[in-house]
C-alpha cells in the first residue's frame, strides 16, 4: 500500500485510540465512582441508600434524592427546618447534622449521574434553589405538561409529588418512557 494510505490509517487509529483510552482512564477510578466523568447509567440520579434519610425525610413527602440539588441548597434547607415550605420539620441537632452530612456528600455537585450534572450546569454559582420543581432545569423538562395533568389533576396536584407520575422515581429513574400520569391512561410524550 502506498505511504499516504499508511499515514492515514495510523493517524485514524491513533486518534480513535486516544479517545477510547482517555475515556477509560478518566472513568476508571473506583474510589470516586459517583464522580466519574463518563457515567453511562440508565439512572438519572443516584438512588437513596440511607434508611435514616428515607424515614425522616420521606415521612411527609417523596424522599427526594440528594442528587437533585447542590450541597449549598441542602445546607440552607437543613438550616431552616422550623419553616420547611410552611411546615415545621424540626429535628434534634444531632439528627440534623447526620442528615445534612448525607445530603451534602451526595449532592448534585458531588455526583456524576446525568441529571445531577445537568442540574448543576444549569445553575449560576450564586443560585441556591430550595425547590427542585422551581429550577430552570426542571421546568424545561416539564414545561409541555398542561395544568390539567398536574396542578388541576386531583390525583397529582403538584410537581413536588414526583413518584405519582414517575413510576420508578424511588429507584432513581425518571425516564420519560416510564411515566404514567394518573387519570390519563395512554398518555405519551
Amino acid at each position: 500500500m502506498n505511504t499516504k494510505i499508511w499515514v492515514g490509517i495510523n493517524v485514524l487509529i491513533i486518534a480513535l485510540g486516544l479517545v477510547v483510552v482517555s475515556g477509560v482512564v478518566i472513568s476508571d477510578d473506583d474510589e470516586h465512582e459517583g464522580e466519574r466523568y463518563w457515567h453511562p447509567s440508565r439512572l438519572d440520579v443516584a438512588p437513596v441508600d440511607n434508611a435514616f434519610y428515607r424515614e425522616e425525610c420521606g415521612a411527609c413527602h417523596f424522599a427526594y434524592q440528594p442528587g437533585w440539588l447542590p450541597a449549598r441548597s441542602w445546607q440552607r434547607l437543613m438550616g431552616g427546618l422550623e419553616d420547611h415550605f410552611g411546615e415545621n420539620a424540626e429535628l434534634d441537632a444531632a439528627d440534623v447534622r447526620r442528615l445534612t452530612e448525607y445530603l451534602t456528600a451526595n449532592a448534585a455537585d458531588r455526583s456524576n449521574y446525568k441529571r445531577s450534572r445537568g442540574m448543576v450546569r444549569s445553575l449560576y454559582n450564586d443560585q441556591v434553589p430550595l425547590r427542585i420543581s422551581g429550577t430552570r432545569y426542571f421546568k424545561r423538562k416539564h414545561h409541555e405538561l398542561p395544568a390539567r395533568m398536574v396542578r388541576d389533576n386531583p390525583e397529582v396536584r403538584s410537581f413536588s409529588n414526583c413518584d405519582l407520575c414517575h413510576t420508578r422515581a424511588a429507584q432513581g429513574s425518571y425516564n420519560e418512557h416510564q411515566v404514567k400520569v394518573p387519570g390519563f391512561a395512554g398518555w405519551d410524550d
Binding site: 415521612a59 410552611g86 411546615e87 415545621n88 429535628l91 413536588s160
Partner: protein, 133 residues
C-alpha cells in the same frame, strides 16, 4: 420445670407488649414530674379536634386535618397528600413505641397545628387519647 418454662414464655411474650406501653408510660411520668396530670382520654379527644385558625392564610388546622377523627384509618398529609399510616397502636403496632419519635412529632406538630409547643398536660391527655383507640 414446666412452671418455670411457662413463666419464661409469658415473660418473653410480655416484654414486647411492655415495650409498647413503656414509651408512653415514660412520657406520662415525665409530664407528671413537670406538674401535669391526671390525664384523660376524653380531654385528649377534645384537644384532638380543637381547631386553630392560622393568621398566615386564614386556614383552620387541627390534628384531624392530617390524621382524621378515626385513628384506626389512614390519614393524609394536608399539603403533599402522602398517606399517613393509622395512628392507633391497636391497628398499627409501630405507633407510640419510641420516646424519641413521640417527642419529635409533638414538637413539630404542635407548632405546626397550634403555633406553639403543647403543654405537658396537653401531651399527656393526647397520649392517653391515642393509646385508647
Amino acid at each position: 420445670m414446666k412452671a418455670r418454662a411457662l413463666a419464661l414464655m409469658v415473660a418473653l411474650f410480655a416484654v414486647p407488649a411492655m415495650g409498647a406501653a413503656s414509651a408512653v408510660d415514660e412520657r406520662l411520668a415525665a409530664y407528671r414530674a413537670a406538674g401535669a396530670g391526671p390525664f384523660s382520654a376524653e380531654a385528649g379527644e377534645r384537644l384532638w379536634q380543637r381547631e386553630v385558625v392560622r393568621a398566615v392564610d386564614g386556614g383552620a388546622r387541627s390534628c384531624t386535618t392530617c390524621h382524621g377523627r378515626d385513628l384506626r384509618r389512614a390519614g393524609r398529609h394536608a399539603k403533599t397528600g402522602k398517606p399517613i399510616e393509622p395512628l392507633s397502636p391497636a391497628v398499627n403496632a409501630e405507633r407510640l413505641g419510641s420516646v424519641k419519635k413521640i417527642r419529635k412529632w409533638f414538637r413539630r406538630n404542635c407548632k405546626w397545628t397550634w403555633g406553639r409547643e403543647c403543654t405537658a398536660q396537653e401531651k399527656g391527655d393526647l397520649l392517653s387519647f391515642i393509646r385508647s383507640r
